[in-house]
Amino acid sequence: MPHAGPWLGYLALASAIIAAAILLHFLVRKPALDLRTKLMLLLGLGVFPTITAATSTVAGMEATTHREFCGSCHTMDDHFGNATDPDAQSLAARHTRNPFFGDESCYVCHADYGMFGYALTKMGGMKHVYYYYLGGYRGMSKEESRREVHIAKPYDNTNCRQCHTTTAHVWRTVPDHQAMQAQLAANKVSCASPGCHGYAHPFSKGPDGLGAHPSASGRPAAEHAP
């Protein structure tokens, strides 16, 4: 999604304020219901609210791509903290320090790639909200969430390859890349695995940072960090 910038939020607020002013004027001053008033009400009930709805939707969708939005649930505190730690050397932290997309590092790395990637990612996000508010994650302690919350499906190497092309000469000359090209393409081996580039969120892989916590409940886990 292209960056809309903060002006879209300002536009949404401005049109909401104008619409509210028109409506309050009608409710308080009680003008005659002539053509002029009807047209003003058309602006206050139709045109400006439509602008507010459209711009707030775009601004809201963009807000969902920000790292702070992902970190607003306490179950993501550790991931957020590690990603924003200036001293951390995890894949997540190093990508978050990238000046080009660091503010949206969670979304950029976890969004599904492809034509319907944006829509699929947002649908997956709704699952996260469901798990958080209705699936019991909201009441979990941090320790419980570290144990229970895991990525829903194996991390797709395609997401890495959105930026890190596998066709460049420098990539192809790495012996490990050459040897595992087929496995990497088939997602049999993850780029973010120990021995390769390491886990993106190593603290979530058990006390030693190597093995994943087994899910105690066995219920479907919310998709999150690898």
Partner: protein, 99 residues
């Protein structure tokens, strides 16, 4: 009188019972709630406010606009014969018979 005419007459009679102005007022109050929900999602972009604004907030806004459209329809149907609680100058009201 055909069945269609009877239905039409019944619908018009029902529309006449309700005040155009009160329906517009309802539309205004409902729209203000919808605008507040959408503005809140901009000021505080947390998961629930954003989802609430994109779903419930927009439905509230659509309901308000539909109330306004219905009031306009009622206004067209009944002409200038507004309800007694209509705000503004009395020129909107029909003059009583014989005046």
């Amino acid at each position: 009188m055909s069945q269609l005419d009877r239905l039409r007459g019944h619908a018009i009679a029902r529309l006449r019972k309700h005040s155009v102005i009160s329906l517009i007022r309802v539309a205004c109050y409902v729209a203000l709630v919808g605008l507040a929900v959408m503005a809140a999602s901009i000021i505080y972009p947390a998961p629930l406010p954003v989802i609430f604004a994109m779903s419930v907030g927009q439905v509230i806004g659509i309901v308000a606009f539909l109330c306004y459209l219905l009031s306009i329809l009622m206004d067209v149907v009944r002409g200038t014969d507004h309800a007694p609680d209509a705000p503004g100058p009395a020129r909107q009201f029909q003059k009583p018979e014989g005046q």
